[in-house]
Structure formats: C-alpha cells, structure tokens
C-alpha cells in the first residue's frame, strides 16, 4: 500500500500527547522510527555562512516589534482573570497546552467561578477550561492527576495551538 505524507502527518498527530520514548512502525519496505528524549546531534547544524541572495535566501533574523493590538474583548467575557504565576515550575510539573487555537475561558460562563484555580486538585478527566472557536466550545481536561500550580493564559484572550495554559504539579 501507498504511505503518503498525509498518512505520516496522521501518525505524528495521533502520537502527539502520547507518552512514548521509542516508536517503530513497519509496513512492507517502509520503516519509521521515532524517538523522544534529549536532542541528539545527528543532523549537521545549518550553515550560517550562506550568501544572502537578492530577495529571500537567509533567515530574516530580527522580528519587527509586534505591537498588534489584541482583538476587542469577547463581549461575554467577565472582568479578565489574569494568569496566576506563583512560583517556578517543579521538575515533575506537567504543562497543559491548548488543543486548538481559540479564545481561552477559565469559567463556564461570565461571572461563574473558574473551573480551577492554583492549589486545586484535579483528576485526569477534570475540565480545567474551555477554548472557543467561532461559538464552538471545546472543554479541555487536565489529562493528569495532580494539583494546579500555575495558570499561564489570560481569561478571554486568544490562545494558539499548543500554547501552554496550565501547569499541574504532582498530587500532594
């Protein structure tokens, strides 16, 4: 059978969020090996001495100052609950990231208390926030058992795909 780039993308995305160190897939002549862990110096470092062609050849280095204003606040957003950052992350903390791009909400509706706050215990299936895309609400679960140690995103603001939202420490 044919294994095309789309299939590879599907495999890689299915593995996203799965805890593995070594993954091997063999189908006929095809062999895919994925390993996770410390960076291995396998690929040569990209040459930084390439010539700069007329329009576009070398990576632009500096980014112009981004002063794009965030969009108008969501009309239903309550007084914005800002990120809570009590301390440095512990070594066993897990970072929960946004599964999709959208607007981050910490509570079910404006005025309600947040799903979780720093210090709250969570189970794997505890809903910790919602991400809204054009009126479609997607609940996000903790995915780990533990205690919320940090809230990394601001209520009512746009979060990107895979942007860190919460840190969860080990259950005490």
């Amino acid at each position: 059978m044919q294994f095309d780039p789309e299939d590879l993308a599907l495999v890689l995305e299915s593995l996203d969020g799965v805890d593995y160190q070594h993954f091997q897939l063999e189908m006929g002549d095809l062999r895919i090996v994925l390993t996770r862990g410390p960076e291995t110096p396998a690929s040569p470092a990209p040459s930084a001495s390439g010539p700069a062609p007329d329009t576009a050849g070398s990576r632009p280095e500096s980014k112009p100052a981004a002063d794009i204003q965030p969009g108008t606040p969501h009309p239903t957003a309550a007084a914005s609950t800002t990120a809570e950052r009590p301390g440095a992350p512990g070594p066993d903390d897990k970072t929960i990231t946004a599964p999709i791009l959208g607007t981050f909400y910490r509570s079910p509706k404006p005025g309600d208390p947040p799903y979780v706050s720093v210090g709250d215990p969570v189970e794997t299936d505890t809903v910790i926030c919602i991400v809204e895309v054009m009126k479609l609400m997607t609940p996000v679960t903790a995915g780990h058992r533990g205690v919320v140690t940090e809230v990394l995103a601001t209520d009512g603001e746009l979060v990107e795909f895979e942007q860190p939202l919460f840190r969860i420490g080990p259950a005490s």
Binding site: P5, E6, A56, P60, A66, G71, T103, L158
Partner: protein
C-alpha cells in the same frame, strides 16, 4: 482606519504578501501550522499565531480557526493567497459576516467561477470563444453530446480545476465508464459529482490573461502569460508575453477576459485561462482562477507593476493606481518553478532537509522563495521551493539568462526539479518555441519507457 492584514497562507506566497503589506505600511498577522513555526514567513510577519496541526485541514483549511485567529488578533482583512481558502465562496462570505475584508473577488463571483460548467456558460453568453462541450445526465445524452463534440475528448470535474481529476476519452467504448469514474472521483475529491466534457486539443498552447479590478468599476488587463510547459497539467515554466500570438489573437483574448471581468464586477486579481489550438488557431476559454496566481511575477517583470500591492489596495477600497494605457510591456520574462519533486520518479514529492541553497547572483533575476539552508521541507503541502524569474530584452536573451542562472544554482539535500529545468531551457524545441501543453509530459514518459 489602517487595515491589519491576516495572511492565511504559507511558503513563498506568504512572504510575497507580507512584503507587499509592509510596503503599504500595513501591519500583518500570519497564521501558520505547527509544521511552519520556524518558516521564513513566520519570522517576517509582525505577529505569527499557530493555527493547528500540520495537516492543512487542521490549519490552513480550517475556516473557523482562521477566522477566530484573524478576529482574535485585531485584523481587519484576510489575504488567502492561492490554494487553501482562496477560492472558497463560503469562506469569503464568512469573512464578510464577521466584518473582515476578504482580499479577493465577491462570494458571488467565486461561486459562479467555482462551478466550471457555469463558468463555461457565462463565457459563452458573453460571446467568449468556448470549445465544443457541455454536460448531460442520461447515458444516451452523454453519448449524443460526445458524438457532437468528437473524440478524443476530456471529462472534467465541475468543481475541480487546474487539471485535477481529468479523464481523456479516445473513443465511445470508453465513454460510459470514464464518465462514471470521473463523477465518482469528483464527488470524493471536490464534494460535487458534476462533470462535463470538452474537446481535447492535442497540440495546444496555454495562454492566460491577467485581470485586475477595483471597487469603483475600474477594470483592466495586464497582458497575457504563456504557461505551455506543463507536466501532467501542472505548470512548470511560465512566460510573459506569449510570443506566438498575433495582435488579433491578443485582442480576442484580452477583450474576452475583460468582458468576463465586467459581468462579474470583478475586484482584485484574476486570471482568465485559454487554450490556443496550434493546428487551427482557434482560441477557447478554459476557466477563471479568481485569485493571485503563482506565476504573477512574469507579468510584474514585463510591466513593472506590483500586482499584489494593487490587489490589496483595490480590495481595501482604493481605486487602481494606473490606467489601461499606462500598462506598457517591455522585453520578455521567464519563470521556472523549482520544486521538491524528483524527475527520476515521475516528479514525485521529495521532501527533506535542505543542506545547500545557493541561488545565482546576477542582474535581471528575481527569486521568490522561502528556502534557507537547514530548512526542513515539510511533506504536508505543495512542492514549490521557489520561483526564479529572468528578464531580457527578448525571449532568447531571457532564456539565455535563465540558462546561466540555473547552471549556477546549487541545491542539495533532496531531489529537485532543477536538473529538469536546465534541460528544458537548453532544449532546441523550447528555445524555438515549438512546444505544446503535452510536450514535456510526452517527452518524459517516452524517456521513462525507453
């Protein structure tokens, strides 16, 4: 209020659009997939947001995600580039419903042009030459229509385009099954099973007219491009102008294109594609691409007009900055598409890590590319690495410059079309302009079989 432009695309065209916006003093936000976080356009945009996973349906094609990203970052307009959402009427409508300016023609125009059967009928109703063809329902009607067109003929998907899903039928015995297969494939690929047939022109040139319109009734053409060098209906080399055309041919082409533009109240950039039958000299309408085109730089090189700048301004409500009489063609421009495709394997995609990328450095060249050494060319999207454009006082000199430029170009890391392009520009048939749309395909398939 100054517009803030959301760029819903990737690769070289995202760079091109970002550069044009910067030239206009407009701020930009780029939406990328997780695979394009470290891309060159991501470094150039004022702000970059990650839309979703690598697969296009989770990022560049995810309409609601693109809208949410544009609205959430304070953008007022969306530039869709080419491909992805650029020809999607429903998306253009959703932009308007959310107060975003879609940088392209109206949803109505997109809808009429997206259905190739309707586009053919539109062209025909305006007196634009159309090849014999049409559609039918019952097998008897299909056969009767085919007889009236004559064999060989092509079956095409009404909602396809760009040569995707076409079937060549050489005789009546193949017709019924080809019609059914084409319809099934069209349904699977485009969500619509409608197909139609058209006379197959064996020895044709592909000639297209660039049109541009504003929101004040201003409409003009920016000349023609010749995209006859194709491999299985995918363009490989484009030129401006099309050297074989007579002034009368050119008049028919441009007047036809402008009639279509007027009927649709066309805003922004569009390309009206035609086939020019080498044996009879007949011109026939093919389709309209209602968006910025990959090969727009050859027109820019031959006219000095910044098409993307004009497109953005026109869609934002500015009148066109020049008149038809200001469009002056000078010299000849040739564009080669450098792609991550392996000529030794039927131009199959060949992504990998780009170890060496040393473009030629000479006057008269332009390179639109998002490549850099060390770039990991992702396998998820189209194979375009860059477009090299050479300009000369005439066709021969433009090709000479292109030939030297391709010889100097160093690319290593994975197979590319570079070697094939070098061969084409050195080929006596290409240099003498004795080519047709099946020329390259036939040549490569003959080589593969021998």
């Amino acid at each position: 209020m100054t517009a803030v432009v959301f760029v819903a695309n990737r690769g070289e065209i995202a760079l091109r659009i970002l550069t044009a916006c910067r030239g206009l003093g407009l701020r930009t936000v780029l939406g990328v997939s997780a695979a394009d976080r470290d891309s060159m356009p991501a470094a150039l945009a004022d702000r970059t947001v990650v839309l979703g996973g690598a697969r296009a349906d989770r990022s560049y094609l995810a309409q609601d995600t693109v809208l949410a990203a544009a609205l959430g970052t304070g953008c007022t307009a969306i530039h869709p580039g080419y491909g992805f959402l650029s020809e999607n009427a429903a998306f253009a409508e959703a932009c308007a419903a959310n107060g975003l300016t879609f940088i392209g023609p109206s949803p109505q125009a997109l809808r009429r042009l997206g259905d190739k059967i309707e586009a053919r009928e539109l062209a025909e109703s305006l007196g634009v030459p159309v090849s014999p063809g049409g559609t039918a329902v019952s097998p008897e009607e299909v056969h009767r229509l085919a007889e009236s067109i004559g064999y060989p003929l092509l079956i095409k998907a009404a909602h396809g385009g760009g040569g995707k899903g076409m079937k060549l039928v050489t005789g009546p015995e193949e017709l019924t099954s080809a019609w059914q297969v084409a319809s099934g494939e069209a349904l699977a690929a485009f969500g619509h099973g409608a197909v139609f047939m058209e006379r197959f022109v064996e020895r044709a040139r592909h000639v297209e007219v660039q049109i541009l319109g504003d929101r004040h009734g201003g409409r003009l053409h920016v000349g023609e491009r010749d995209c006859t060098v194709q491999y299985r209906y995918q363009k490989v080399i484009e030129e401006s102008a099309s050297e074989g055309l007579t002034p009368e041919d050119r008049r028919v082409l441009t007047e036809s294109a402008l009639r279509i533009a007027a009927e649709l109240d066309y805003v922004g950039l569009g390309t009206v594609e035609f086939l020019f039958d080498e044996s009879t000299g007949a011109i026939s309408f093919l389709e309209v691409n209602p968006r910025l085109q990959v090969e727009h730089p050859v027109t820019e090189a031959a006219t000095g007009i910044d098409l993307v700048r004009e497109q953005i301004q026109a869609c934002l409500g500015e009148p066109l900055s020049f008149k038809q009489s200001d469009v002056v063609f000078r010299g000849h421009a040739v564009e080669c598409r450098i792609t991550a495709q392996d000529p030794a394997r039927g131009l199959a995609p060949s992504p990998g890590t780009l170890r060496r990328w040393r473009p030629p450095r000479r006057g008269g060249l332009r390179l639109d590319s998002h490549m850099y050494e060390g770039y990991r060319f992702p396998p998820f999207y189209d194979a375009l690495m860059g477009k090299l454009v050479a300009w000369g006082e005439d066709r021969a000199r433009a090709i000479d410059l292109m030939s030297d430029a391709l010889a100097e170009f160093e690319i290593e890391g994975f197979p590319t079309s570079l070697g094939l392009l070098r061969r084409i520009v050195a080929d006596p048939d290409f240099r003498a302009n004795r080519i047709h749309t099946n020329w390259l395909t036939e040549r490569l398939e003959n080589e593969a079989h021998s």
